[in-house]
């Protein structure tokens, strides 16, 4: 009987295990293996050598690009957090009826009905040298010359990231906020807390798990991105994703794999550090 129960348990776990093995573990294992292979200009060959990693860690470009990636992640995180928290707070606490909460929440998701490349590209005519932003500012007399840093700059890259990923911050924070017992807010008021004190001492601590989940979403998405950086910087900025994509277009798969492994480790370290800060288990 006990053996039987074990067997049933294994069988129940099997479908998910198969999917994870086939689509998660196997590809990662493959990348790790290929990262030790060697390459020439026209071919790659199986081997077990550390050349790719050695090259990667000895090149100053790697450090610049990793620094740049972390910089994008940090700045985007800060903006999405502030905007996402504000939007979630408005939805959760200022809107009283559930009907309006749902309606406005869906409104937030409407931009996601188009592909993110289109959402990204639509910034280009807006921010361009003779785009809407510049011509409006000139006609208002705010500036005399078109601003050069609006497009194809760190500014435009981060703007696009914030635009694309803020919702990933809104959703988990909103979820955390909806779980907060409203009588806690009243209790805080009863204890003499003003609006800001309630926000800082009650709402923010209770939203921590949501903030953390949103943070993980945004950081991993930004760190793994390459297309946004390419389009919005006009190929003038680089992050790790672009490094990998360049290697792939030059058929340097082993080198790309090595970079991918290092990136994966970096992201995992970042997440591990974040998880040490906040326990998200009770939120799941």
């Amino acid at each position: 009987m006990l053996r039987n129960r074990n067997l049933v348990g294994w069988l129940q776990a099997a479908p998910l295990a198969t999917v994870l093995l086939g689509f998660l573990v196997a590809p990662i294992a493959m990348i790790v293996i290929v990262s030790f292979w060697g390459a020439t200009e026209y071919s790659i060959y199986p081997a077990f050598q550390f050349d790719n990693y050695q090259f990667l860690f000895s090149s100053p470009v790697t450090y610049t690009v990793f620094f740049n990636t972390l910089k994008y992640a940090a700045i985007t995180w800060a903006f999405t957090l502030v905007i996402g928290f504000t939007v979630a707070y408005f939805l959760a606490f200022e809107i009283r009826s559930l009907k309006w909460q749902i309606a406005l929440f869906l409104l937030c998701t409407i931009p996601f009905w188009t592909s993110n490349i289109i959402r990204m590209i639509s910034w280009i005519p807006f921010l361009g040298r003779n785009g809407i932003a510049n011509s409006t500012l000139i006609s208002w007399g705010v500036i005399d010359e078109p601003l050069e840093w609006l497009l194809f700059s760190d500014f435009s890259v981060i703007l696009a990231f914030v635009h694309l990923y803020t919702l990933f911050m809104v959703v988990p924070i909103f979820n955390s906020m909806m779980r907060i017992d409203r009588s806690l807010i009243e209790a805080a008021r009863d204890c003499g807390a003003n609006g800001f004190q309630t926000l800082w001492n009650v709402i923010v601590p209770l939203c921590k798990p949501g903030i953390m989940i949103g943070t993980i979403f945004v950081t991993t998405l930004v760190m793994g991105d390459f297309i946004t950086v390419r389009f919005m910087s006009g190929s003038q900025r680089a992050n790790v994703g672009r490094l990998i994509s360049n290697d792939i277009s030059l058929l340097q798969y082993p080198s790309a794999a090595a970079t991918a492994v290092v990136l994966l480790c970096t992201v995992l370290i970042v997440i591990a550090v974040l998880l040490r800060l906040v326990d998200i288990r009770k939120e799941l």
């Binding site: 017992d181 209790a187 805080a188 008021r189 204890c191 001492n201």
Partner: protein, 327 residues
Amino acid sequence: MTNAADLEFVSLTKRYGNTVAVDAISHHFKAGTYACLLGPSGCGKSSTLRMIAGHEEVSDGAIVLSGRDISHLPPARRGTAMMFQSYALFPHLNVRDNVAFSLRMAGQDKATRLARADEMLDLVEMTQYAERKPDQLSGGQQQRVALARALITRPQVLLLDEPLSALDPFLRVRMRTELKRLQRDLGISFIHVTHGQDEALALADEIIVMNDARIEQAGPAREVFNAPRSAFVARFMGGHNVLHLPQGRIALRSDVMSVTAPEAGRIDGRVTGIEYQGTHVALISVVAGDEEVTALLPEREFFQNPRELGEVIGLGWDDRAAHPISA
């Protein structure tokens, strides 16, 4: 005549759109009383309490505490403190920090506020749990913490919103003894909202029965129970029969009813239910006009002369026990 710490309602009104939740009630609570607002759900008792606390806007009228109109002050400046129905303890703070919360909001330094918190925890006998989080406490322990948190601001009036409803029956009886003891020791007013008449009777110096947004009757517990002024109060307080007689309506306590042979009683009834309650037996009968009358007989008396379902009995009472009531 408003003395120190007396609480007074002056035609206090609460409207939500077109519905009136509290309809121009006036009442005077003497300082240091344990008062219970009693009534069925939706009678306006919770709205009244929340208006005193400042969590609900006063639509009309005023609330006066120690001679000053507090109707529009923020909750923390009223001299009241509230204990919430589900206790509303902050889940991310430990017991001591929960209790010290209002002092922290007021900007008191850490040493003072923790010392005060420990004092309060001592008062409710929770010192040993100071480091725990609320979800590691039982319902009764959470309630003590909520009490300590409410009392740390030294309120003149403590407001309790159905404080015992989240507890199991056994704990409920124990906690109500403690509430009463605490109120006596502190000498401040407690205003306790409940829908349980047994709770109100056990605790209250003064019971305010509310129905349909108004005060139906207010007075000392014994008076409200023994001399209900309306059929509603008689029925809601329980233990009463309401009888229509030619001379008008009367309320009769079911334990003063006597059961006799049909010809010897003042009215006849047909037994429809017999309920054994341990010390007593409740004999439920239907009398003319299809009204149910309960007679509560001492257990021994009933079993000396047991009755059967469907049997016709006579019901009698002493005129001194009958109270005329309004509709």
